[in-house]
């Protein structure tokens, strides 16, 4: 199954978290990739996902953006 991608770059707080939680609701298997561009969003998404029982991995791209991978 393809990963779900949530592109939350450029959105202000708390929209990246809300988008992530809405993707988590639809999640069945595989992983969810959340794209964010600030450290605040990165931290908030990670905290919310971990509270929902997901493991998180974070990759930084060259432009200083973050790719947060959520998996069970």
């Amino acid at each position: 199954m393809e990963d779900m991608i949530v592109d939350a770059r450029g959105l202000s707080c708390p929209q990246p978290v809300l988008e992530t939680l809405s993707a988590i609701k639809k999640f069945e298997e595989g992983s969810i990739i959340v794209l964010v561009d600030t450290t605040t969003s990165r931290d908030n998404v990670r905290r919310a996902a971990e509270k929902k029982g997901f493991k998180t991995e974070i990759e930084v791209s060259n432009g200083g953006e973050f790719r947060v991978k959520l998996s069970k």
Binding site: D7, G10, S12, V17, T38, R47, A48
Partner: protein, 373 residues
């Protein structure tokens, strides 16, 4: 270090330090129950610049300058300085303007509401309940898909504009620049604007708070919003630490006076305390952060936050020019209490602001986010 500040102890320590520093600023000379008040201090800056002519509230507050520059220093050190903007700037400007009008009807921002509470001012309670209601309303809009749209990366220089404005203000302050006879920069000779801690102490306190808050993402509005929306108590634990530390420090420094009567720069028109802060809370929620947080974001290069603050400063000008801001309760010469409250047109302005926020909340929606690619 980044991990520490995003942890629970990190946010609790940040909140506690802010509470302690704010109360100490009063000991060092800031007005009573106004160790740090973003709305009041931006109002004083608006006055100093001549955007309003209320002679009692004119001073360039170094705390505000410190907030922005401290946050900027932290963002630069930890590579979090990201120039960005373009997310509905005009709407943010008006949200800032109405947030200030609401805050000046209550007589304080969320930070001062908490500090007033921790000093025993019971009138803060109706304001805090209003703030809570406004943030809850904003959170409902967010849940229903409200959004001001995405910001985009901008040039590095764009991110420097607001911090440079702060440096210019600091130069105006220390050189006491005058642009002519009877012209700004104004400095109050009486009233709250004439009461302040030494410049370097205020600036140092601002820099410390700005640095810590940028690291920990401290936000008084976000605290309520996160509890309501996602049952996340992280930011709220910082806010609780602020109140408890300020309470204990006020008791130790004998600055705690419980009651509703004649509290410093405070009025007991509870309906308007409630509605003023409901307006401010809703505007903060729709704009994504409390006024302190907006200052820290502007230090990170977020120009939308800078536009919100510009709106607040203009809102402060309007508040005093158009007789919107409240006056505090006073003791008459005969010894009776004169209850204060909104200025002549303040009530209408609050209602207009609430209507504006509802219009924004109902009409601004998120662009569809791509999924499953």
């Amino acid at each position: 270090m980044t991990k520490f500040f995003s942890s629970k102890p990190g946010i609790v320590i940040s909140g506690a330090v802010i509470g302690l520093v704010a109360v100490l600023l009063q000991k060092f000379g800031n007005p009573a129950n106004m160790g740090v008040c973003v709305a009041c201090f931006e109002r004083d800056i608006a006055g100093a610049l001549g955007l309003h002519r209320n002679a009692a509230v004119q001073y360039i507050r170094p705390e505000i300058i410190g907030f922005v520059l401290g946050a900027m220093a932290s963002a630069l050190i930890f590579r979090e300085f990201k120039p960005r903007g373009g997310s509905s700037p005009l709407v943010r400007f008006f949200l800032g303007m109405f947030a200030m009008i609401g805050a000046l009807v209550f007589l304080g921002c969320p930070w001062r509401a908490l500090l007033r509470l921790s000093a025993g001012d019971g009138n803060a309670i109706s304001g805090i309940l209003g703030l809570f209601s406004g943030v809850v309303a904003g959170s409902i809009f967010l849940k229903k898909g409200y959004s001001l749209g995405k910001s985009v990366k901008t040039s590095y220089a764009g991110g420097l504009v607001f911090p440079i404005f702060m440096i210019a203000l600091f130069l105006f302050l220390i050189f006491r620049v005058s642009f002519g006879e009877g012209a700004p920069i104004f400095f109050s000779e009486t009233g709250p604007g004439s009461i302040f801690a030494p410049v370097l102490i205020s600036l140092g306190a601002g820099l410390l708070i700005g640095f810590l808050a940028q690291r920990s993402r401290f936000c008084t509005m976000g605290a309520v919003r996160d509890v309501v929306l996602i049952k996340d108590w992280h930011l709220m634990s910082g806010v609780t630490a602020l109140v408890l530390t300020a309470l204990v420090t006020n008791i130790i420094l004998k600055q705690f006076h419980a009651g509703f009567v004649l509290q410093p720069v405070s009025h007991s028109s509870h309906v308007w305390n409630f509605l003023g802060m409901a307006l401010a809370g809703l505007a903060f929620a729709l704009a994504g952060g409390c006024p302190g947080r907006q200052l820290f974001l502007s230090g990170e290069g977020d120009q939308d936050a800078g536009v919100f603050i510009a709106g607040m400063i203009v809102g402060a000008g309007f508040s005093h020019n158009f007789l919107l801001a409240s006056s505090p309760d006073k003791l008459s010469e005969a010894g009776t209490i004169l209850v204060g409250g909104p200025g002549l047109f303040g009530k209408y302005a609050v209602i207009m602001g609430l209507l504006f926020c509802l219009f924004v909340g109902f009409t601004m929606k998120s662009l569809k986010i791509k999924k499953g690619e």
